[in-house]
């Protein structure tokens, strides 16, 4: 089949504002070919040049060297650039920054209007695109009032109305919750299947990549590996070295294979059925009984926060964002707060340090020094803010000082102008959040995305809070960045900080949290260990949650094992692939 996209030895270097080239090349002689009608993914760590490559393909940047040919058009002059952009639609990461029209249908029309499409065809295209993505009923709404998932669907509709042949998704699902993400991907796959649109997606989500036909791994501005997902994921070492990770289900297959000293072949991981079969086969061929895995259960210590009968309404008690919430938080635990988008999680955590005052009920902090503070009392607020640190989603937006050092120190200086050992405390906070000491002198706006996130975290850690509340701390980071962030969080917990964590990623919530608290439509519906909440698909769905991918896959492997060996007894799932592998292999070997 013909190539939709062909990039040949392209190099590109970003320029500084003075027009000088930066020292490192964003793209360094990169070549890729994408078949017409295929569905491909580009993977790579942050700063590897993935987005630059996508922009080069859509001629939003021009290569310094090399050739770009899209749909048979060579990008050599301005008219051709427009022909390529006409046929190549682009959906960006941040839904808000790509909506031009105030009203949903006006935004969808923006592209075709630019192409000079006349009425009535224009109206037909807009209506058809809106119906296709399922936003037709909302066509007269204000675009800003849509949810994140709806905004990304709107972006797709805007793209679709231009009737493109190629669709480029630049981390388009990074800001979506799992349900919206699945809906979005289903839609994209439908477009690929039904309309034959070539899809090129840049992503940090390995599960998303596993759904594609072909993957390109980009590092340092070059393609270092390409192939089918099975080919790519059959090189776990290379994947890890590139700062990526295996999807949880494939990871479990590898862990079981390791215990049975077997080799995983490409065919073993090519689709879900083969993965289940391979996992079962490896488990059956294991001979040595592995060590029994244990749940790291933490004993409940002293109660540090108490939320009782908390209710909150944004619209004068017509509807409730939070309704009679009760929760105790124990010192030194990681508590995950989970639930669908818009269930009230953010409103809930905003109550924890008194940013939002309870309309009824109370939030109490039992401080280490024996004092009890409540957020309803004005005189307690300063103490509460000092002891309950709150880090919102994408906290890098809160940086404002001239240097990182000053920014980190800001919160402390707000408490009192005179601080002993200020420099030492800044350093300590920076180290805790994994920030290099050299960056302290820099302007926060020069830092990379991951560094900014850490600087913002350090700005809260400097107050040495007893409780740290984090809203999606790993959102938008690449797999290595996510893993690093959770390492920092676990280290904080181990040093005695109590962590309350909002998460959309159920695998991470199950893996890192000691306890999970679930909110559905403003009400507390469940509280307990991951293996209880995710005991079955039905139960999880009842709470409005999706199952962790690992649990879901492990469950299918176990069902298959039970079918073949009805005599074995199985343990509840573990959130860690290695432990789950041991648990499965032990049960097959009848180890008590």
């Amino acid at each position: 089949m013909a190539n939709a996209i062909s990039v040949k030895s392209v190099s590109f270097t970003y320029r500084t504002e003075d027009g000088e080239s930066r020292s490192t090349k964003a793209l360094d002689g990169i070549s890729i070919e994408v078949e017409s009608g295929s569905y491909c993914a580009i993977l790579g760590p942050n700063g590897s040049g993935k987005s630059t490559l996508a922009k080069i393909i859509d001629i939003l940047e021009l290569p310094d060297e090399g050739q770009v040919c899209v749909l048979g058009v060579n990008a050599t002059n301005e008219e051709e650039f427009y022909r390529i952009r006409e046929n190549c639609a682009y959906v960006f990461q941040n839904p808000d920054n790509q909506i031009v029209g105030t009203i949903v249908e006006e935004d969808v029309a923006f592209g075709p209007e630019n192409l000079g499409i006349k009425l009535p065809e224009l109206r037909e295209r807009v209506d058809e695109a809106l119906k296709y993505v399922g936003l037709y009923d909302l066509r007269k709404r204000e675009a800003a009032a849509l949810s994140g998932g709806q905004k990304q669907k709107l972006a797709i509709a805007g793209a679709l109305a231009m009737q493109p042949k190629v669709l480029i998704l630049d981390e388009s699902t990074a800001m979506l919750d799992p349900v919206s993400r699945d809906e979005f991907l289903d839609l994209v796959e439908k477009m690929n299947r039904e309309k034959g649109i070539t899809v090129l997606t840049i992503t940090h989500d390995m599960n998303e990549a596993a759904r594609c036909e072909k993957i390109f791994v980009v590092e340092h501005g070059q393609v270092t590996m390409s192939g089918t997902p099975a080919q790519i994921f059959s090189h776990p070492d290379v994947i890890k070295k590139a700062g990526l990770e295996l999807p949880p289900d494939i990871s479990l297959v590898y862990e079981i294979a390791k215990l049975s000293e077997s080799q995983v072949a490409e065919d073993d991981i090519k689709d879900r059925e083969s993965r289940i079969k391979a996992a079962v086969r490896f488990a059956e061929s294991a001979k040595d009984i592995p060590e029994a895995p244990v749940h790291d259960l933490r004993e409940k210590k002293r109660k540090i926060m108490e939320i009782s009968d908390l209710s909150f309404s944004y619209d004068n008690k017509k509807t409730y964002a939070l309704e009679h919430i009760n929760l105790d938080v124990y010192e030194g635990e990681i508590l995950a707060v989970v639930g669908k988008s818009g269930c009230g999680k953010t409103t809930f955590i905003s109550h924890l340090n008194g940013i939002v005052k309870p309309q009824s009920g109370s939030v109490k902090l039992f401080s280490r020094d024996g004092n009890i503070y409540t957020t309803s009392k004005k005189k307690d607020i300063a103490e509460i803010r000092k002891n309950v640190g709150l880090v919102f989603q994408y906290p890098e937006y809160q940086l404002f000082e001239e240097t990182v050092e000053k920014d980190i120190a800001y919160g402390l200086l707000c408490q009192s102008k005179e601080q002993e050992n200020l420099k030492a405390r800044v350093k300590e906070a920076a180290t805790m959040s994994g920030l290099d000491v050299e960056t302290l002198e820099k302007s926060p706006f020069e830092l990379s995305g991951g560094q900014k996130r850490r600087a913002a975290l350090a700005g809260v850690l400097i107050m040495k809070p007893q409780v740290l509340v984090l809203d999606e701390p790993a959102a938008g980071l690449d797999p290595k960045g996510r893993a690093d962030m959770f390492e920092i969080i676990c280290a904080l917990r181990d040093s005695g900080t109590t962590i309350i964590l909002v998460s959309h990623n159920m695998d991470e919530a199950a893996r890192y949290a000691d306890r999970i608290f679930c909110i559905k439509e403003g009400k507390a519906v469940a509280e307990g260990a991951a293996e209880e909440l995710f005991e079955s698909n039905e139960r999880a769905r009842g709470y409005g949650l999706s199952m962790p991918i690992l649990y879901d896959f492990a469950d299918m492997v176990k069902k298959e094992l039970l079918r073949k060996h009805p005599e074995i007894s199985l343990m509840p799932p573990f959130p860690d692939p290695a432990k789950e592998a041991s648990s499965i292999v032990r049960s097959v070997l009848h180890a008590e």
């Binding site: 920054n97 031009v100 630019n114 109206r123």
Partner: protein, 270 residues
């Protein structure tokens, strides 16, 4: 905390006024703008009140929306009222206490000034922002100002800039709210403490807001490029402006209203 402000927001009720051609509304708005500043007799004010009421009813704007539109400007209206009442010393003295002297002329003028502000906001809202999407306002201005293209005035570009600025108001309000909460968590102070510490509190919000707005502007420019935006030439419109009989009727009706208003003013005014 900033979400309940509807100043500058569009509220779709599907009324006649919503469907009226935005150019008609822009012209009517200019007429009423002049009227608001010309009117000073109580009878004419009453007429203006009735006319604005009719506009609100025609536009089917619910009372709570009207109220939330007015709410943010009421402190300013009160301030104008107090300032005028205290500073104007002409006319008969109604009340005096130490250095405070209130006169009848002062009071009338104060009421008038405060009401003008209220009517100004109401007219702007009911004729433009509440009933007309920003994109339509921009369309109307583009169309009305298009003769200026002859003099190389970039009318389309200016209209586009305006509509984008309006489109981002809710987004920026949301963002401001988010940044304010984040900085407040770190100890920033907006409403207590010395003037300097409050100012410093606002700086912690403004700088990140500017930085992110620049980032948004950059992103949006790339996104517009990707969607083949090349300026005004050859662009078509999903909802092109068309004057219908209904538009003419609305125009004549409210223009007559304005004429009667001016008539009353001339007759009763001094």
């Amino acid at each position: 905390m900033l979400n309940n402000i509807s100043l500058g927001r569009y509220v779709d009720t599907g009324s006649v006024l919503h469907k009226t051609d935005p150019r008609v509304k822009v012209i009517l708005y200019l007429v009423y703008l002049i009227a608001v500043f010309v009117v000073n007799s109580p009878v004419a004010l009453l007429a203006l009140f009735i006319l604005t009421g009719i506009q609100l009813i025609t536009a089917k704007i619910p009372l709570d929306v009207t109220w939330s539109t007015l709410k943010p400007v009421l402190p300013l209206a009160l301030f104008i009222f107090i300032l005028n009442a205290l500073t104007i010393k002409q006319g008969d003295v109604l009340f005096t206490w130490r250095f405070i002297t209130i006169t009848d002329v002062g009071t009338t003028r104060a009421v008038l000034m405060a009401l003008r502000l209220v009517f100004l906001i109401l007219s702007t809202s009911v004729l433009l922002t509440l009933t007309t999407t920003p994109l339509k306002i921009a369309d109307a201005l583009e169309s009305l100002l298009s003769p200026l293209k002859v003099f190389n005035v970039p009318v389309h570009e200016a209209a586009m800039m305006m509509s984008i600025a309006l489109r981002f108001i809710p987004t920026l309000i949301e963002e401001t709210d988010k940044i304010m909460k984040a900085q407040e968590s770190r100890g920033a102070n907006y409403d207590t403490g010395s003037f300097l510490s409050r100012l410093r509190g606002y700086i912690t919000v403004l700088i990140p807001l500017f930085v992110s707005s620049f980032k948004r502007a950059e992103d949006l420019a790339v996104a517009m490029d990707a969607r083949c935006y090349r300026g005004g030439s050859n662009r078509t419109k999903l909802n092109p402006l068309k004057i219908t009989g209904r538009d003419i009727a609305v125009f004549i009706l409210f223009l007559t209203g304005a004429a009667i208003l001016i008539g009353i003013q001339v007759f009763f005014g001094n």
